[in-house]
Symmetry: C2
Amino acid sequence: MRMVKMASTKSWVPIPSSSHFSLANIPFGIISSSKDATHRPAIAIGEQVLDLSTFSQNHGFQKLPDFQHVATRVFTSSTLNSFAALGRPTHRIVRRYLQDVLSENTSYPEVLKNNSSLRDVALIPQTEVQNHLPLAIGDYTDFFAGRNHAFNVGTLFRGPQNALNPNYNHLPVAYHGRASSVVVSGTALHRPWGQVLLDPTADPKVPNFQPARRVDIELEIGMFVTKENALGRPVPIGQAENHIFGYVLMNDWSARDIQTWEYVPLGPFNAKNFGTTISPWVVLADALEPFRTAGLENPQELRSYLRESREDNQYDIKLEVDLKTSDGDVTTLTRTSSRNLLWSWPQMVAHHTVGGCNLRVGDLFGTGTISGSVPGTYGSILEQTQAGKQAVKLTGGGERKFIQDGDTVIIRGVAGEVGSGLVGFGECVGTILPAIKYTSE
Amino acid sequence: MRMVKMASTKSWVPIPSSSHFSLANIPFGIISSSKDATHRPAIAIGEQVLDLSTFSQNHGFQKLPDFQHVATRVFTSSTLNSFAALGRPTHRIVRRYLQDVLSENTSYPEVLKNNSSLRDVALIPQTEVQNHLPLAIGDYTDFFAGRNHAFNVGTLFRGPQNALNPNYNHLPVAYHGRASSVVVSGTALHRPWGQVLLDPTADPKVPNFQPARRVDIELEIGMFVTKENALGRPVPIGQAENHIFGYVLMNDWSARDIQTWEYVPLGPFNAKNFGTTISPWVVLADALEPFRTAGLENPQELRSYLRESREDNQYDIKLEVDLKTSDGDVTTLTRTSSRNLLWSWPQMVAHHTVGGCNLRVGDLFGTGTISGSVPGTYGSILEQTQAGKQAVKLTGGGERKFIQDGDTVIIRGVAGEVGSGLVGFGECVGTILPAIKYTSE
C-alpha cells in the first residue's frame, strides 16, 4: 500500500481542546447506537464517533484502494480482531488516512468533509452510542510490572527489607487471568461472595462464607495483541513491538480478603475473576509513540532475552482515579503516571513467549497495578489505607477503607498537553453493586 | 423431543472387546481424513469413526426429526462448541439415538446398518483420520483437587505435618491456565527455555537462562463446559451437572525448575504455558454415569455452597501412564484411578462461579494431578523420583529423573470391564522435542 502523508493537526470536526480524542489519537472501538443495534467498529474523534461500518460501505476508503476491499470485511465485523490481525503497518496507513480525511486541509474533501449525506449517517455523537468490548479476548494475562506497587504491598506484609521477592527484578512476574469476565467500561459488577478468614490467628483456621468486605481497585494499563506467534516459537524482544495492537485503561477489581485465604500456593483466583473493567477505545501503539519516556530503572543485569536497546521503553500517560459515592461525591484518590513500571511491553511479550507459549490476536495483557512512591499516587486502596488501617477521607465527609456498595470508580488516562492535541483513553468506569442474595438452590 | 429407547449393548460394527469405544461410550471429537481435510465432528465406535457431517447431511438423523434440522448446522461446524451449547438433554437424546442406530438390533436399520452407500462414506477407519482439538477453548482453569498429589508434593517441600495448606480442605484451590497452548494428543512440544535458579543457596540469587532440565508430566482429567452462566450469577452446586459436557485425559506438562523460580507470589506461569495435551475424544458425562464412586473423604465440614447430597461424586476411571523412549522402550510409570480426588466436578463448578465468574461453552477445567498414595500410583515424576532424588528404572535399562528429549508420554484412561463394554478415552500422547536454538534476533 502507498503511504499517506501526515495532514494538519486541526480537524474540520469540532474538537474541544480538552478532548482525549484529538486528531492525533484516532482510537478504535466497537459501538452500537440508538438507531442501529449492530455491534460495529468506529473511531472516536472529539465528541463524536466515525462509524467505520457505514464509512467503509459507502466508499469511505476509496482513496486507499488497496485497503478498500478489506475495509468492508473488517469493519462490518462485531469485534476489532479482524482489523487487528492485518498488522501494524496496515493500522498505520489506515490511521494516517483517517487523520487526513478528518483534517481541516484534507487531501480528500469529497470523501467526508464535503459529503454531507455520508457525514449525516457516519458521524454520530458519543452521547448516542454505546460501547462494547473492542476485541474478543483469547487469553488474559496480568503482569506485576509496577515495582512501586510490588514494593508498597510487599512492605505492608514483609517489611521493606524483604518487600520484593528475589525473582522480581529478573523477570516480569505474571499470572494467567480470567478472559470471560473482562467487561467494558460502564458495566456494573456485584460484590463477590467467597471464603474469607475472619480470624487469621485461630487454630484451626476456618473460613466464613460471605460477601467480600475488602473489594479493591487496581489501576492498570491493558494491551491487546495484534499478531500471533506459533507454539514453540518465542518472540524475540526486538520484534515484540510488531505484536502490539494498542492500549486501554484497566481496573483489575480485587477482593483482598478472598485473595488472602485462597492464593497459596497457586495464586489469585476468585479474588480476581469476578470482573476486570477496560476502557472502550483502543489507543493504537503508534498514537503513543510521541510520549515515550524511560520507566523505573532496573539495577539488575538482565538475561539476554529481556535486554532492550532503547531506554525510553515506557509511555508517560497521566493517570487519575476518582471515587464517586452513591451520593454523588467525587474524590480523586490517585494521580500518577504509567512510567511507574519496571518492565516494558516488549519485555512482557518476550518473557511470555520465551518458553514457547503462543499468543493470539485479541489476547489481553495487563501491567499490574501502577503506583507512584508517595501517598496520593497509589493505584490500589490497599496501599492508600495501609491494608485498611488508615481510612481515606472523602470530599463529602465520608471515608473509605475499601470500596462500598454503590461506589463508582472512574479511571482516566491521557498523554500530551491541552492545546497540542491530547491522546487519551477517555474513561474506564465501574460500579460495585451489593452482593446478590446467595441461594444454594 | 421424544426419548429414544436404549438399544442392545452389541453393535453391528465390529468392536474388539478391548476397545475403549464400545457402544456404551459414543465419544465426540473433531476429525479430518485423508480424503477430506475439512475439520468436522465425529464419534468413535470400535476401530472406526462415524463422520457426523456426512451422516447428518445424508439424513442420518431422519428418525430424530426435531434434531435433524439442527444436526446439519452443529455437525458441519469445525468444533463441537455448537453441539455442546445445545445442552445435556439434547446430548442424551443424540447419544442414545446413535447407540440405537449402531446397535445390532437397531430400530432403524435403513438409516445406516442396511444403507451401504452411507456406510461407505460415513464410517471411516480410525487409522485414516486425524484428530483435532474438540472444542474452541475459552478459558482454561486448572484445579489442585488430587489430594494425594498435594500431600506428596507438600511433604517433599515442607514435611508431612505442613504438607497441605490450611485452605486445602476448605476450597478447591485452582489457578487460571493458558488456553492457547492446549493441544490435541499427538502434538509434539519443544522443551521450553526459561529462567532457572541453578544454585538456590547463592546470595544474591541469579538465575540462568537455559532450556528447562526438569520437565515433568501431570496426569489429569479435563472437563469441558456445556452451558454458560451470566456474570454475577453463581451456579448452585445442585445445578452444576447441567454445565458439564464431558471429559478428556490431560497431561499438564510442567517445567519444575522454571516453576520454582517464577511462581512466588502469583503462581505458575511459563512453567505451564508451553503446552497442555488433551485426548481427542470427549466422553460425555452420561457415558460415565455407571462408573460413579466415592472419592477421597474430606474431614472438613464444608461451607454451604460446596455441600453435595450424593457421596458417589467421583468416577472410577482406571488411569495408566507409559513412558516410551526414543529407542522404543516402554515403561509403565503409573497405574491409578480418578477416584483419587478430594473435590468433585460440581464442587469445582460451584466454587469457580461463587464470586460471579461467568463460564462459557468450551471452557476447560483440569483436575490437577491425580496420584495414589503409594509408589507406582503417582501422577507426576516429581513425586516418583522424590523431586529428582531417586531415578525411575526403565524396562530398557535406562533411568529417568525427569523427561528427556525424545521421550513420549502416553496416558490411557478407561472405565468398566473388558467384555461388558468399555467406556474409555483412548490415548493422550505427547513427545518432548529438544529445545529450539534460541536467538534474540
